[in-house]
């Protein structure tokens, strides 16, 4: 049995945490090789396993860092390298190119059905909630017949951007007879999407761990009725429940990390995302509550963590969506 990390993974995690603490930007993360750590050796990187993804994203989640590593690298570069677009994949991993992945469409809810279509080498349709679209150099667009690559600024490409609750930005994307190049079938999404879900879950795990630490410190220092509120048994029991649930989440993330490249991947994706979504909400709600009014404020460091936990549930299918998937996968 081995639930540990390699020395390289541990070192990367530590330097990533230090860089983020100093407010490290995208360039600093690239320099560390955070992007390349998310890519396999065949794809030009030096990692790319479930545990690499786990280490990097748990660290990002603890710091509530807003980066493009999930959308541009895990998902974007992951698809590109599966499609044999090695050069662009490596450019994305090193931060030279930024990839936005346009999957969802208006009126559609987690189930992946699309109506954007290609005529010749031109795409027409609408995409919704495309993270990082405004800054992207390239968009990967899912259509009725596969995956297509669109360059930023292409003819007929329209973007309308807005803020996301985790601090990033997304856009509504319109394609009107927009030139594009087909890169492969939608099946290329399978592994990158599973890896992206692992990344979201690991990120949420980091955010939960940090939120619980903040809450523990607060309970030790905040006094009411003449004593630290952590001395009240009612609150101690709730912290104990919180820790127990976070431990469940930790194990669920390990399950997915370890099964990312096994035949049982889909079932683990559904199980882990469902459990993580549920626990993420519980941790967000409980840590806010245990802080009282301070937990409601934007300036306290819990706020971005709590919103990140909410966002984690809403991305790539919420806990109920994956509960249904798990039931279906288990019945099969």
């Amino acid at each position: 049995m081995d639930f540990g990390f390699t020395d390289e993974q541990t070192m990367l995690g530590e330097s990533l945490a230090r860089t983020l603490e100093r407010g490290g930007d995208a360039a600093a993360l690239s320099e560390l090789g955070a992007g390349l750590a998310l890519m396999t050796e065949e794809a030009g990187g030096f990692g790319g396993t479930g545990r690499d993804i786990l280490m990097v994203f748990r660290t990002l989640g603890r710091a509530a860092a807003v980066t493009q590593l999930l959308d541009s690298v895990v998902l974007g570069a992951g698809i590109l390298s599966a499609a044999g677009e090695a050069d662009l994949a490596e450019a994305a991993a090193s931060g030279e190119a930024r990839i936005a992945v346009a999957l969802d469409e208006p009126g559609q809810r987690y189930d992946g059905k699309v109506s954007t279509r290609a005529e010749g080498e031109r795409l027409t349709g609408e995409k919704s909630l495309v993270p990082g679209a405004e800054d992207a150099t390239h968009l990967i667009v899912k259509t009725t017949d596969g995956l297509w690559l669109v360059e930023a600024g292409a003819e007929g490409l329209g973007l309308r951007g807005y803020a996301l609750m985790d601090g990033g930005r997304a856009a509504e994307v319109t394609l009107r007879d927009t030139p594009a190049r087909r890169i492969g079938d939608a099946a290329l999404l399978d592994r990158p999407l599973a890896a992206a879900i692992l990344a979201v879950c690991a990120d949420a795990l980091g955010a939960m761990e940090k939120a619980v630490e903040l809450t523990t410190d607060y309970l030790k220092t905040r006094k009411q009725f003449g004593r630290p509120i952590g001395s009240f048994q009612a609150l101690q029991h709730r912290m104990a429940d919180l820790l127990t649930e976070v431990e469940q989440a930790r194990s669920a993330v390990w399950n997915l990390a370890g099964n990312l490249d096994t035949a049982d991947r889909d079932r683990h994706v559904a199980a882990t995302k469902s459990l993580l979504g549920r626990v993420a909400l519980y941790v967000a709600e409980e840590t806010i509550q245990l802080h009282g009014g301070i937990g409601m404020t934007e300036e306290y460091e819990l706020a971005p963590l709590a919103r990140r936990l909410l966002a984690a549930d809403a991305r790539f299918g919420d806990s109920d969506h994956h509960l249904e998937r798990f039931i279906a996968a288990s019945a099969a």
Binding site: L129, Y162, A163, M165, I288, Q289, E298
Partner: protein, 398 residues
């Protein structure tokens, strides 16, 4: 057992409904329905409409310009208002300060302040909580020292809801630092335009500056603004808190929220069918609705007791606990019902100034914000942990 409302109450309900239909402007109800922030002017506009009808202060006796409603009439008004998406009546002047002045204030204070609450000249806010005094309110540290005809006030209040709009604040201040915690506190009315007062907004999780910190730096307050007797403020504060807890169950808000949730769930698609037909979602929705039906009856049972002259005790803590749990559950399921569109977050969407409207159904923009904002329900007005303590102590004797 008769669980129906009396004919008089039913007539009253019909009258309230008709009034709301006639006088509630659609632009206000639309904003309330979509959970958008109302401006100060919009809140004042609705207060003025109610005041014209004599319904602004349903809880006040007629002699002070109130409607003199029974507890059941107040409940009916609150419920119908919520169902019609009317702006809520702000509690600070009407539900909190008014009753205190009527019971403990001087004739001069009543004559001076009560009419101005009704006609909208004054906007009151509450100066109770401090950084070190939340649920443990008796540990307030803000001091008021008598100096000639004035008190000189120093200290800091926090969580002052909508204090940015207020021109008056009622405060708990410490006038005897040597007395035991509850015994050295006074209840003081302070003009917010006095020199030495600074108001700093606190931006909340949902991106809105709903609450504030208020700092007092050698603020001179005329001694005539002391309510009742010096060092007896704790008694008045407790009296006010029992009034703050009217409509604590929020049945109307929950019922309106549940209706909105069903609208969204009918419009959203899951696996090619309306979300409301999805078995898992339908089960979650049904559980909340069943809980709400039971809680609404608990609320009515307690109102009936109150109407029969019994003073509600720790039962109101159970209403606070269950009522806020249900409202939070509705907020949670609403956020989930809008699915991925919950991710969009118009954090600067204050007072409708939002040119950057996110995608999805019209309710989606507010779903996440309302969810985040209503985490406060289980924290304010005596946190739910405090309520559990009250229940265990007074109902179980533990």
């Amino acid at each position: 057992m008769d669980m129906s409302f009396s004919p008089d109450d039913q007539t009253f309900r019909a009258e309230v409904r008709q009034f709301l239909q006639d006088r509630l402007p659609e632009r206000l109800s639309e904003k309330v329905r979509l959970q958008q922030e109302l401006t100060k002017a919009e809140i004042e506009e609705w207060h003025a409409v109610l005041n014209e009808k004599g319904w602004l202060a349903g809880n006040w006796p007629r002699e002070f310009g109130g409607a003199g409603w029974t507890a059941i009439q107040r409940h009916i008004f609150d419920e119908e208002s919520a169902l019609a998406s009317a702006p809520r009546v702000l509690p600070f002047g009407i539900a909190m300060l008014g009753p205190v002045l009527q019971k403990f204030g001087s004739k001069e204070q009543q004559d001076r302040f009560l009419p101005r609450i009704l006609n909208g000249q004054d906007w009151w806010c509450q100066g109770y909580s401090e950084p070190g005094a939340g649920s443990d309110l008796a540990s307030v540290k803000t001091t008021a020292v008598r100096d000639g005809d004035d008190y000189v006030v120093n200290g800091q209040k926090t969580w002052t809801t909508l204090g940015q709009h207020a021109n008056w604040i009622f405060c708990l201040v410490r006038t005897d630092p040597t007395a035991k915690a509850q015994e050295g506190i006074s209840f003081l009315l302070i003009d917010m335009t006095s020199p030495g007062i600074t108001v700093r907004p606190i931006v909340l999780l949902d991106g809105t500056p709903e609450v504030n910190e208020v700092f007092f730096d050698d603020v001179r307050v005329p001694a005539e603004n002391l309510v009742g007797e010096e060092n007896k403020g704790w008694t008045y504060a407790k009296y006010l808190l029992t009034h703050e807890r009217t409509n604590i169950a929020g049945v109307g808000f929950a019922t309106a929220g549940l209706a909105a949730l069903k609208r969204i769930a009918r419009a959203q698609q899951a696996h090619g069918k309306p979300l409301i037909e999805n078995p898992l979602f339908a089960a979650r929705l049904a559980e909340i609705e069943i809980d709400l039906m039971a809680m609404a009856t608990t609320n009515l049972r307690m109102l009936a007791q109150a109407a029969a002259g019994q003073v509600p005790g720790a039962e109101s803590s159970m209403l606070k606990l269950k009522g806020t749990q249900i409202r939070q559950a509705i907020n949670d399921l609403t956020r989930r019902a809008v699915g991925p569109w919950a991710l969009a977050f118009p954090s600067e969407a204050v007072e409708g100034a939002n040119d950057d409207l996110p995608p999805g159904p019209p309710e989606a923009a507010a779903a996440t914000r309302a969810y985040l904002n209503n985490r406060k329900l289980s924290i304010y007005g005596g946190s739910n942990e405090i309520q559990r303590g009250i229940i265990a102590k007074s109902l179980l004797g533990l």
